[in-house]
Symmetry: C2
Subunit: 359 residues, 2 copies
């Protein structure tokens, strides 16, 4: 079997070890350049493309502002071109690229690689996003949830020092991921841990997702832009609630809050308080002892969210007398989801490496 792994260039000799009685042992290590995988965070406000080697180390990265409201065919062509560019620029032989982990919002039919959402436009509903990108690139493409991928990304990057934790993720929207014993929690269809779409207000209005009073409508970037527009002293931020680029708008609010603007800070703290309520719900259901705050929007205002969410969880979680819950911020800025996508592709294509090693 070792012979076979060496023939495939996956492991290489790393010297000789001491003999344990017979002939000296040959030490082996993974060959970092033996294979590569690409991860793509794909959403209308931001796309991040990364390439990782066989050990999961990032070897190349690019990002662009997102595909906005482009129709699917054009958006995917743009993504495919960026992936091609990155492979070319990295100087990696194409037959060493295992494939692409494409991560984006849900709901999804993960097996079929199809989106089950009308967001951002109706064109995307049931669009075969993974098969189509696979066709364009001539590479295997798997589809996964961005927040689940961010959780695996944070784990892989060593942010968590624990193999069991929850991740709260905020980009254009709010999502979540749970990792149990190093594996993404999947449920029936990998459409779980959607903390942006839990009801926090019994009398709340309808959400685009079909539920009522969802957290997203009180705390996500779009909701905050609407709140900021209704706040006279924040007129100077020149926010437009009709602009689909909600992450840039949110970034302006977060910067103003960071610079000490009291009205902006109050808005961010309110969002964090509401996110804290949903984090308490997540902990009262999953009962874990670590929450990682990740994603580009949380990266933009990390310290405020971290302190407020931690305070809420410490005060309100059902199991708080059984064990504490730590809340930490991401180590990866905006990139955890894309890295997680690449790692999920490595794991998917290299499961034959998942061998039972005695003892």
């Amino acid at each position: 079997m070792v012979r076979e792994l060496m023939d495939h260039g996956l492991v290489v000799e790393a010297g000789r070890g001491a003999s344990t009685g017979g002939k000296p042992r040959t030490l082996l290590r993974l060959n970092p350049g033996g294979r590569y995988a690409v991860g793509v965070l794909f959403e209308r406000n931001l796309c991040v493309v990364v390439m990782v080697d066989l050990t999961g180390r990032q070897v190349a990265r690019t990002s662009f502002p997102g595909t906005s409201l482009l129709p699917p065919e054009e958006a995917l062509s743009q993504v495919a071109a960026r992936v091609e560019d990155l492979i070319g620029a990295a100087g990696v032989e194409r037959d060493k690229v295992l494939g692409v982990g494409l991560v984006t919002y849900g709901p999804q039919d993960r097996q079929a690689g199809v989106l089950l959402t009308h967001q951002p436009t109706a064109d995307w509903y049931e669009y075969p996003v993974a098969p189509r990108l696979s066709e364009l690139l001539g590479l295997p493409v798997l589809l996964d949830n961005d927040a689940a991928a961010a959780a695996i990304g944070e784990y892989w990057l060593g942010a968590t020092r624990s193999n069991t934790f929850a991740c709260v993720y905020m980009a254009s929207g709010i999502g979540g991921g749970v990792v149990l014993d190093g594996e993404v929690y999947r449920g029936a269809s990998s459409n779980g841990v959607e903390i942006g779409h839990v009801t926090v207000d019994l009398d709340g209005g309808p959400c685009d997702c079909g539920n009522y009073g969802c957290l997203a409508n009180y705390a996500d970037p779009h909701a905050m832009i609407k709140q900021a527009v209704a706040t006279p002293s924040l007129g100077r931020l020149r926010l437009d609630p009709a602009d689909p680029d909600v992450m840039t708008g949110f970034g302006r609010i977060a910067s103003a809050a960071g610079a000490g603007d009291p009205a902006a800070r109050a808005l961010v703290e309110r969002s964090a308080r509401h996110l804290g309520t949903a984090a308490v719900t997540m902990m009262s259901l999953f009962d874990l002892d670590l929450i990682v705050l990740a994603g580009p929007s949380l990266a933009a205002a990390g310290p405020i969210y971290q302190s407020v969410v931690e305070e809420e969880v410490r005060r309100r979680t059902f199991a708080r007398r059984a064990h504490p819950v730590r809340v930490v911020t991401s180590v990866s800025g905006s990139d955890a989801a894309a890295i997680g996508g690449a790692v999920l592709m490595l794991q998917s294509e290299l499961t034959f490496l998942d061998l039972d090693v005695p003892g």
Copy 2:
């Protein structure tokens, strides 16, 4: 190994099978009377004690109205006496009783067998309920969550025809359990799936659990008694919001609703609607395709809760386009939690039977 199991009376010969070339095979089966386990559902409004044999079949049962506000020492003495009576009446040799699975509300320190709640009185906080009952009975006692036990009980009773599902449980309070691949979901401390204590109202008042706007305060038996007392046409039910026996009070409301009283029916439907909101939250986080409604209070008004919760889940769950979610009612009336407690004790004491069988 078979010899050892036979010596312990756990398996017995069940005849001879056809030869597959060598000598005829000896067929073995579990010896139902080889060992027994006791399950106790313990709460202030209702106690149920069951005994099951080695195959998990119920061989004896008793129940009593609960220990109300008795101090812990007296309450546990009463439970111990009932367990002794049941063992005696069943005519089971004491050394064949593996122990007791004691199931009740949380939060708990399950490992230590200690309650971490001030409910129903402050005396219970950090009271070593499992060690103390073990001392009284001279038998091993494990502590577990009532709703988690109900989930395992329903699974064991064959209610689910699936080994992965969620259980919503209502007795005096509201809880939940999740079973994944036949095992109770535990999280960090077995204090998860507490759907009675998820926030459904951002502006809601404080709950006894320390959180705010919890489902329990809108939908549990005590909340419904308060709502009924405030409803003039329900004065004839003679409900007293100060009476600790909330399950009897709730039972009167459920009976009136079942008999067609429009005001009572409106109250139960409102509770079911709110429970449906929390069930949607549970599904949007755990993403499962089956919910079992269990516990004595849901047994009392099952059809209304079943139809309303199913409607809410079908309309509102995030993954509804990926797969349907069925909602079914318990097959066990009030007993799933006690049976689950006994089954958890069997599993805990007989893990040496969990052997790798080739092929």
